[in-house]
């Protein structure tokens, strides 16, 4: 920091004025070599992130014979047989439904209790209470599983949807509280105050003014909560029954057999990742703003 002195900043000088209007456009100072390097680097990066996913997709469209044949890496006759096996014979469609309901219900329930809590914790600066909720993010899930398993198996609830949804709320709730808190931290108070002047109660102002204004934040929080709940593996591994298995557990059980049916396994993996990727494609902005919530305000 000692490099910069106020004198060097040259505020208000003529050459800086356009830069202040469009802050991200700047004079081209990079060399052509740098530009070439940048393009090459970007291509390599994109390839490195996408190639494995493409490989999974390709393998899911091959017969097991073709997967074993190195000469058919890229050129092969595509088949949907793996998907037919997975969705038809192995009943994966019911696991898709399970995964969806568990993720959906845990997200909605977490929103109902999490959004007002985040509002209160932000407006009243309840940092210590917030820390208690965020502890859920830090604690290793295994340390909760044994007591949960004990209590829920005594109530003969293990294997039911209720327990799964509760355990997935443990994933969704801290995420929602964290994102919504940073959303309310940056939301101005004026509109709420105006609503109060207009005669609404505090709670009325929250329900009729603040909540409708929070739609963007709620969308961000619920998309991320849904994704992380959909992806969760550990809780369902212990707490789900044969009928309530979620997709990640179903995929894991695939490799329990002596020899792995690679085509089927890859088809199953595609089935679990595709919905999430489609959501990600359409809600990229929300996901990014959720992942970076609270990261840049310091």
């Amino acid at each position: 920091m000692s490099v910069v002195t106020p004198k060097m900043l040259r505020p208000g000088s003529g050459t800086d004025a356009p830069a202040a209007v469009t802050p991200r456009r700047r004079k081209p100072f990079r060399s052509r070599a740098y530009k070439v390097f940048r393009v090459v680097a970007l291509v390599v990066i994109v390839a490195a992130f996408l190639a494995p996913l493409a490989w999974m997709l390709l393998a899911s469209l091959k017969t097991n014979v073709d997967i074993y044949d190195a000469s058919k890496t890229l050129i092969f006759t595509p088949t949907t047989a793996n998907y037919e096996t997975v969705l038809g014979r192995n009943n994966y469609f019911s696991f898709v439904i399970n995964s969806f309901w568990v993720a959906f219900a845990s997200t909605v329930l977490s929103l109902i209790i999490g959004v007002p809590a985040a509002y209160s914790m932000s407006r009243f600066a309840m940092r210590r209470s917030a820390l208690v909720v965020l502890m859920a993010r830090i604690i290793p899930g295994v340390s909760l599983l044994v007591p949960w398993y004990y209590v829920f198996s005594n109530l003969s609830l293990v294997g039911g949807y209720g327990v799964l949804i509760l355990s997935h709320m443990f994933v969704a709730l801290p995420l929602i509280v964290y994102i919504m808190m940073s959303y309310y931290d940056s939301m101005p108070l004026e509109l709420e105050e105006a609503a109060r002047v207009d005669g609404l109660t505090h709670i009325g102002a929250f329900l009729k003014v603040t909540l409708p204004l929070s739609v963007g934040g709620i969308a961000t929080a619920s998309i991320l909560a849904f994704i992380f709940s959909w992806n969760n593996f550990m809780f369902a591994l212990v707490l789900s029954g044969a009928d309530t298995k979620t997709l990640p557990v179903a995929i894991f059980n695939f490799v329990a057999y002596a020899s792995i049916d690679w085509g089927g396994l890859m088809a199953a993996s595609v089935v679990v990742t595709i919905p999430i990727m489609v959501i990600a494609l359409f809600t990229q902005k929300y996901i990014v703003s959720g992942l970076t919530a609270g990261a840049t305000k310091g």
Binding site: V3, V4, M8, L9, D16, R24, R26, R38, A41, L42, V46, A48, F49, P52, L53, W55, M56, Y68, A70, I113, P116, S120, M126, S129, V132, V133, M135, A136, I138, I139, P140, V142, S143, L144, L145, V146, M169, F170, G199, H202, I203, N231, F233, M234, L247, P248, I251, F252, F254, V255, W262, A268, S269, I276, A280, Q284, L291, T292, G294, A295
Partner: protein, 312 residues
């Protein structure tokens, strides 16, 4: 203070009761709003955590319903003197987290810098980077199991083309840990990129511009302007990534199964504790490992958040 306009047609008694209720709710809204979430957390987290602490002082095993005896700190003595499973698991947790974190931060910073200035096709590059991050970890594990399969995997096919002998990757006793670290880097570097990129775009251009006019080269500007200004964001990224890396479960269990493989080659503390509980039903010992693990995480978080305050 509470100026509540009432519908005029309500009977006075009803009105009073409603107003009293509404006033009470409004005056207590702070806790009324926070209570459901707090109670949920208390019941599902704090109480089980207390129970885990209690279990760590007993010899509970076999069935969760079986009688157990209070044995004081015997479990802690046993675990802390266990050089076969516990300490290697501590070491693996530490190696996994620190190597993955270090590579992710360096690589993430490089990619974030590349993406910082606008360019054509920016949107598509960002989507590509988002995909590994949202992919289901178990599916990611299975995908890499196929790619790293010693016989039919793409990784060894590529090595073959380059004339390098085939590697055992995930199935090798000494190659498994580096391989899972590689997979973790593939999946979570995007998280670091996204956080750092948000930090970079929120930076003011002026200090950087001024240093450039002053003749500072790219490295100097990065080292002395960008990094110090970005430090709070960098620490958030380190904090979030280290919490998740320490607790990594899905990837390790999906690629190596119980006990972190037949030689426990990827057995971290989380995998070890899970195995003790649900594969061996030794709840007392498992709880002890978990409490120690929890203390390690808290210590790491404490150090990092203190560092964050120093920076601010």
């Amino acid at each position: 203070m509470a100026v509540t306009t009432m519908p005029p047609k309500r009977k006075p008694q009803q009105q009073n009761a409603w107003k009293a209720y509404s006033d009470w709710a409004n005056n207590h809204r702070k806790w009324l709003f926070a209570a459901p979430a707090m109670i949920f957390v208390a019941i599902l987290i704090i109480f089980p955590l207390g129970w885990t602490m209690y279990l760590s002082l007993t010899d509970s095993s076999g069935s969760v319903r079986a009688e157990s005896e209070f044995i004081g700190f015997a479990n802690y003595l046993e675990v802390l003197s266990d050089g076969e499973r516990f300490w290697p698991a501590v070491a693996r947790t530490f190696i996994f987290t620190s190597v993955a974190l270090l590579v992710q931060m360096v690589l993430g910073m490089c990619i974030a810098l590349l993406l910082w200035r606008p360019f054509k096709g920016e949107k598509w590059v960002r989507v590509a980077i988002l995909l590994p991050l949202v992919a289901t970890p178990v599916a990611v594990g299975m995908m890499w199991r196929l790619i790293f399969d010693p016989n039919i995997g793409f990784a060894n096919q590529m090595l073959g083309l380059l004339g390098i002998p085939a590697q055992p990757w995930l199935s090798g006793q000494h190659t498994a840990l580096p391989t899972v670290i590689f997979i973790d880097i593939w999946q979570w570097t995007p998280m670091v990129v996204i956080i750092l990129l948000a930090g970079l775009t929120s930076l003011s251009e002026e200090p950087d511009e001024a240093a450039r006019i002053d003749g500072a080269n790219a490295w100097q500007r990065f080292r002395f302007i960008t990094v110090p200004l970005l430090m709070p964001t960098i620490i958030v990224a380190v904090l979030l990534r280290s919490i998740d890396a320490l607790k990594t479960f899905d990837l390790l269990y999906a690629t190596k199964g119980r006990g972190g493989g037949s030689f426990h080659e990827v057995e971290t503390l989380n995998i070890y504790a899970y195995g003790l509980s649900f594969d061996y039903n030794d709840y007392g010992l498992s709880s002890t490992v978990l409490i120690l693990f929890f203390l390690i995480i808290i210590a790491a978080m404490w150090v990092l958040t203190r560092r964050r305050k120093d920076v601010q």
